[in-house]
Symmetry: D2
């Protein structure tokens, strides 16, 4: 089984990237084949060169698109921007093959926020989108609030967070 | 595997009941063990006698509650009331055992509406609630718009609707 | 201008009731005509005696219904139950006159939670419902997380909460 | 009073642009000062050159940003992409000044879809975002389903749609 973890922002040095690596380490320790795709690697002009009439025509965009299409399962690490997910993440989804790009994929969602909302609305919005595309979202969503206060040296220091992540991963592997 | 279909309203003679029977017939034809629970059978005063400090204490309410708890998979037939699901359905959920009442159940959602929205928001709201309770919702949601125009003698006359239902059931049985 | 504050649950001795009184005190200090309606006063069997074919026929239900219909502005105090609003609150809305029950009313939303979500999804779902009914919801929503830890003797002890409430009230009076 | 209408996609020759011009004509006939901003005019690389550490630094992006910031009222014309709004629209919002970019603005939402959903979820998601940013969204949302079938020569041929738009505009001018 192949799992792709998507870093859901194109911001430099994002905490989402650190969390993605944390998930990768945990999954590999359980023997999963697992790769990371970082939206930071999207071409700067993909909102023109890879969407609409240009869908599928940008080779650099297609590298990431194909890594997502090829996966059976996907984990999205989603920082909260303006009360929802990053626009870049949705624009990336808009450049995927339609309608089969996400069909029947199994998806797990992880939200991060500096504040206390933990991306509850961001993950709800994303769930709506993936349902629309006939993908199946794991009920257990991890919402990591006040993330800066709960990490040190690339590790999560909050025991409850680590426990929620373990439960999510365990269920996702069986999903 | 045991499937419970929930008629998501307590209104008399609801179309939701007819749709529930249609799903039951289709599921039984595929060999599934399948029962219907109708919110019309809820006690008239359950918002007092079966919630909060009285949770679990109303035997008539508990009959329905237990049929839901016992199921591995649940299908909710959800009419659109005021742009969302019926309040009675959420009040029923509020009377379920917490936090384990829906944990790890597999859920399929079917929305009905007289208008053209088909309960898109109703199903989104319900999905949020079931995710919160760590249940897993099938991506394929069936939204039956203008339902009165698309039924005759208890049968669905719209071929597209029948096709969407078949796909949903097929995927739900494997989910 | 007449403002009605709705205690959004029928639970006994709810914190929502305390918060409603707090809002009433603040509004009256600013000279507003302001009353509280408590869903605890709903008849125990209103899900049968005041909905659907019985809409408008239960005198005890109608007392509350009319207090809501008569108000130009409404403030809903909404505890988080199962990741959304209380089912009883939606069932109450289902018993309102349709389609004019909430049309063009101005609405402010206040969410409470024991946990850290503060009813973000509950308020989002309610906003969807009120929009569907052509009511207008103030952008500023107050979300009071970990409410038990931030109250003492019926007063809110968290300065940030008090400040958010003051801003919300000030904007709502001009809305 | 100054109203800015935002074409919510960067797709070429979008129907959203046609609808935006229709709203402009109607508003100007009522004496409103009204301009259109088209996301098609966003710089191709704005997801890098105008977000995060580069926020506010791209002059071409800032032209549009300032037209939005300067408006007292905003109308968003929002096509449905993948069950929600276009990612580019959210990325544009992510490049606005924070936290004051939308504060206290009055906003009206118009959804378009080829299918029957009319962007119900797209508009719900956007409402969540604008609420988070303390902007106020008009309850009346116009959802134009099966838009291609209901337009001819740049005009809306469906009487109900024209009526809903008239009501929305009338209420928005007083909002």
């Amino acid at each position: 089984m192949s799992i792709t973890i998507v870093v859901g922002t194109n911001r430099d040095n994002s905490l989402s990237e650190v969390i993605a690596e944390h998930y990768q380490t945990l999954l590999q320790a359980k023997g999963s084949d697992c790769q990371i795709v970082n939206l930071q690697d999207l071409p700067a002009d993909f909102i023109i060169s890879a969407l609409y009439k240009n869908s599928g025509k940008n080779p650099q965009f297609n590298l990431i698109r194909e890594a997502v299409v090829a996966a059976e399962k996907l984990i999205f690490i989603v920082p909260e921007y303006n009360g929802s997910f990053p626009g870049v993440l949705k624009a990336f989804i808009d450049g995927m093959p339609y309608p089969k790009g996400f069909e029947d994929k199994k998806i797990a969602l992880v939200g991060l926020s500096s504040g206390v909302q933990g991306g509850a609305l961001a993950l709800s919005h994303l769930n709506d989108i993936f349902s629309y595309l006939n993908a199946h979202v794991l009920g257990n969503k991890v919402k990591l609030i006040q993330i800066e206060k709960n990490m040190k040296d690339g590790k999560i220091t909050n025991d409850l967070y680590n426990q929620l992540i373990d439960v999510q991963i365990e269920k996702f592997l069986k999903f």
